[in-house]
C-alpha cells in the first residue's frame, strides 16, 4: 500500500505536467455540452415540399397555406402537374410532393370526404417517415377544422346527430420530459460519452507510452506488484472522471436548466463505477499494444462499438438480438440508462441498483483482465 502512494503521486505529477491533458479535462466537457446538444436532434425541420394543386379552389388554397405556414415545411414550388414536381424531386430540389385533386372542394362539400396524394423521398428514412407523419397531422388538423365549419352550416337536428356520433381521440401525456425537449434526453447521454472518451482513451495511451519511452522496463525490474501498478494507473482517471462529471452536471444546470430529478450523488456514484470499467478497458488495450498508434486505433474501435450499441442514439430494444447481447455487457448502455433514469425519471439509487450491479461486475472483470494482461516478464 505504501508503494501505491508513491506511484499515484508520480501519475498525478505526470498528468499535470502534460501540456494538454489538464486543459483537455476542462475544455472537452465544456465544448461538448455547449455545442452538441443543439446539433444532435432527430427533429426534422425545413422539409422542402412541392404542392401540385389541381383544384385551385378555396379549400385547396387553404390547405396549401397551412402546409407552407408549418415550421416543418418550406414550400418549394407549386407546379402545374405531378411530372414537374417529380422532376424536382429527382433533381433534389424538393423532398415531398402533396397532390390535391381537382375535385377537392366539390368532394368535401358533397360527401365530406376527399383524398390527397403524398409522395416522400425516403432515401433518408427518418426524414421520409417524419415528413409523412407531419403532413398527415396537418391534413388531419385541416379536416377537423373544415368539419367544424361545415357542421355549423347544417340544420340543428342533423348537427346533433353528427355531434353524438362516437369518436375516439388520443390525448398523449408526455411523462418525464413534458416539453419533448430532445436536449434533455441527449445531455445525460453526452455525459456518458465524455466519460467514455476521456477515461477510455487516456489510460489506453498511458502504459503504451511507458513502453515507447522504455520506462516500463525500469518499473518491471522492481518488485512492484501488478495490482499496485494497475491501481496507480486507474485512480488518477477516477479523479479526472469526477472532475468531468462535476463540470458537466454544473453546465447542464446553468445552460439548460437540467438538474437530476433524482439524487445528484447517485449520478456521481454511478459515474465512478462506470469510470472503473472504461479505464479498465483502456488499460487492457494498452497492455496488448506495442505502439501508441495501435492503442489509438484499438481504443477508437471499441469506443465506437460501446457508443453505437449503447442506446444513446438509438434504443437498444430496437436492435437485433445479437446487438442486444452485446448491449447486455456494454457498460455504456448501463450508464446511459442509469443517467436518464436519474435525470429524467427521478429514480432513486435503489431503482438503478440493478444497472450499478451490472456495471460493478463489468468493472471487476475488466480490471481483473487488466491486471492479468500486464506482464512484467516477456
Amino acid at each position: 500500500m505504501k508503494t501505491l502512494k508513491f506511484l499515484i503521486e508520480k501519475e498525478f505529477k505526470q498528468m499535470f505536467r502534460n501540456p494538454l491533458i489538464p486543459r483537455l479535462i476542462v475544455m472537452f466537457p465544456t465544448m461538448v455540452l455547449l455545442v452538441f446538444p443543439w446539433a444532435v436532434s432527430f427533429e426534422v425541420k425545413n422539409i422542402k415540399i412541392d404542392v401540385v394543386d389541381h383544384g385551385k379552389s378555396i379549400y385547396s388554397k387553404r390547405l396549401t397555406d397551412k402546409v407552407a405556414a408549418s415550421k416543418y415545411f418550406i414550400l418549394n414550388d407549386t407546379p402545374l402537374d405531378y411530372q414537374t414536381a417529380m422532376l424536382n424531386m429527382e433533381n433534389g430540389k424538393t423532398d415531398m410532393i402533396l397532390e390535391i385533386p381537382a375535385s377537392f372542394d366539390k368532394d368535401i362539400v358533397k360527401s365530406q370526404t376527399s383524398t390527397v396524394g403524398v409522395a416522400v423521398n425516403s432515401v433518408n428514412g427518418t426524414q421520409g417517415l417524419l415528413g409523412s407523419n407531419y403532413i398527415m397531422q396537418i391534413v388531419n388538423d385541416f379536416s377537423s377544422e373544415i368539419r367544424g365549419e361545415l357542421i355549423n352550416t347544417l340544420p340543428p337536428q342533423s348537427r346533433a346527430t353528427i355531434m353524438n356520433m362516437p369518436r375516439v381521440d388520443i390525448v398523449p401525456q408526455y411523462k418525464y420530459n413534458p416539453e419533448l425537449d430532445y436536449k434533455n434526453f441527449m445531455i445525460p447521454g453526452f455525459m456518458v460519452l465524455l466519460l467514455t472518451i476521456l477515461c477510455g482513451i487516456l489510460p489506453a495511451q498511458n502504459i503504451v507510452m511507458e513502453k515507447e519511452n522504455g520506462t516500463i522496463q525500469q518499473i518491471n525490474v522492481t518488485p512492484i506488484s501488478k495490482i499496485n501498478f494497475i491501481l496507480a494507473k486507474l485512480i488518477p482517471y477516477w479523479a479526472v472522471g469526477l472532475v468531468v462529471m462535476i463540470i458537466s452536471v454544473t453546465l447542464a444546470y446553468v445552460i439548460y436548466g437540467l438538474w437530476p430529478a433524482g439524487n445528484v450523488i447517485a449520478v456521481l456514484f454511478s459515474a465512478i463505477v462506470f469510470i472503473l470499467s472504461v479505464s479498465g478497458l483502456g488499460i487492457i488495450i494498452s497492455n496488448y499494444s506495442e505502439t501508441m498508434q495501435q492503442a489509438s486505433f484499438l481504443v477508437m474501435f471499441f469506443i465506437l462499438i460501446l457508443v453505437l450499441l449503447g442506446g444513446m442514439f438509438t434504443p437498444v430494444s430496437g436492435m437485433p438480438a445479437w446487438a442486444q447481447t452485446i448491449a447486455a455487457v456494454n457498460p455504456f448502455n448501463y450508464l446511459t440508462k442509469t443517467f436518464r433514469m436519474l435525470y429524467l425519471n427521478g429514480s432513486t439509487l435503489a431503482d438503478v441498483s440493478n444497472n450499478l450491479f451490472a456495471l460493478g461486475i463489468i468493472a471487476v472483470v475488466l480490471n481483473g483482465w487488466a491486471v492479468f494482461s500486464y506482464k512484467k516478464r516477456g
Partner: protein, 245 residues
C-alpha cells in the same frame, strides 16, 4: 571460498526459430565486477534480462541472489538494481522526484529517501539540478543519475546494460569510478559493454559470440590464452567467428 551470487546453467532464450541466448553457463562471485562482453546482437541484453526476471528463459536454470530465476523472479527483484541500455527514468519528472519514486517503490521511508537524496545529490555535485526535469539533463548526467537510482536501495547486485554508451571518455572514466565505489560498498556489479578498454577494469569477463559464451576468465588470463597484447585483440579473434550480423 566466496559466495556465488549468480549461478546459471544452460540458460537459453529463443524468439521463434532465432536463438538469442544459446545454453550459457557461468557464475558470478559476491563483490565481483563481472564484465559481460559481446558484439551488438550477441545476446548480452537478453541474457541480462533473464537474470533480472523481465524475460522468461526458454530453458535452463539458475539463481540470482539466492533465488530461482524461473519461479522466484519477483524475489530477485527486491535484491537487484538495473540500469537499461536506453535511458529509462521518467523524463517528465524532476531529478529528486525520480529518486523519490524508485526509493518509494523499493520500500524506503520518506525520511530515509529525503536524507539519502540530499547526500546523493551532494556527492554527485547535483544539488543545483535537484528541481530540473530529467529530460533537460545532458546524457552523461542522465547516465550517472540512472546508475545512482539503480543502487539507491543498496541492492546486492546491480546490472548495468552498456552504461557508458555514447558518453565522452572523461565522463566514462568518472562513471567507472562510481562503479568502483559501489563495488567497494559490497555491491556485485554485472556490466555489459563493448568498449574493450573498459573490460580491463573488470575482475573477470565473459565474451559472448552468437548467443554463446566463448571465453570467460580474468582479462590477464584471457590475453594470455589468446596470445594477445590487449583485450581488443582477444575480442577481434573471437568476433571473427561470428556468423550473425
Amino acid at each position: 571460498m566466496t559466495n556465488k551470487v549468480i549461478e546459471v546453467s544452460n540458460l537459453t532464450k529463443k524468439f521463434g526459430s532465432f536463438t538469442a541466448v544459446n545454453h550459457i553457463t557461468f557464475d558470478v562471485k559476491e563483490g565481483e565486477i563481472f564484465g559481460f562482453l559481446g558484439a551488438n546482437g550477441a545476446g548480452k541484453t537478453t541474457a541480462m534480462q533473464m537474470l533480472c526476471g523481465i524475460s522468461m528463459p526458454t530453458s535452463g536454470e539458475g539463481t540470482v541472489a539466492g533465488y530461482d530465476i524461473i519461479k522466484e523472479n519477483e524475489l530477485i527483484k527486491r535484491n537487484i538494481g538495473y540500469m537499461s541500455q536506453k535511458f529509462s527514468l521518467y523524463e517528465d519528472l524532476k531529478v529528486w522526484e525520480n529518486i523519490r519514486l524508485f526509493g518509494g517503490i523499493y520500500g524506503l521511508s520518506n525520511k530515509v529517501i529525503a536524507e539519502k537524496t540530499d547526500a546523493l545529490l551532494k556527492q554527485l555535485n547535483f544539488a543545483e539540478e535537484r528541481n530540473t526535469l530529467v529530460k533537460y539533463l545532458p546524457l552523461g548526467w542522465k547516465q550517472k543519475l540512472a546508475f545512482s537510482v539503480a543502487i539507491f536501495h543498496e541492492p546486492k547486485i546491480v546490472f548495468l546494460d552498456e552504461p557508458t554508451g555514447g558518453v565522452d571518455p572523461a565522463m566514462r572514466r568518472r562513471f567507472w569510478e562510481m562503479i568502483y565505489d559501489a563495488s567497494e560498498r559490497g555491491i556485485t556489479v554485472f556490466v555489459t559493454t563493448h568498449y574493450m578498454d573498459e573490460s580491463e577494469y573488470c575482475n573477470r569477463v565473459s565474451i559472448m559470440v552468437d548467443g554463446r559464451i566463448e571465453a570467460l576468465d580474468t582479462p590477464a588470463a584471457l590475453r594470455h590464452q589468446f596470445n594477445a597484447d590487449t583485450m581488443d585483440e582477444v575480442f577481434r579473434q573471437l568476433a571473427r567467428k561470428a556468423e550473425r550480423d
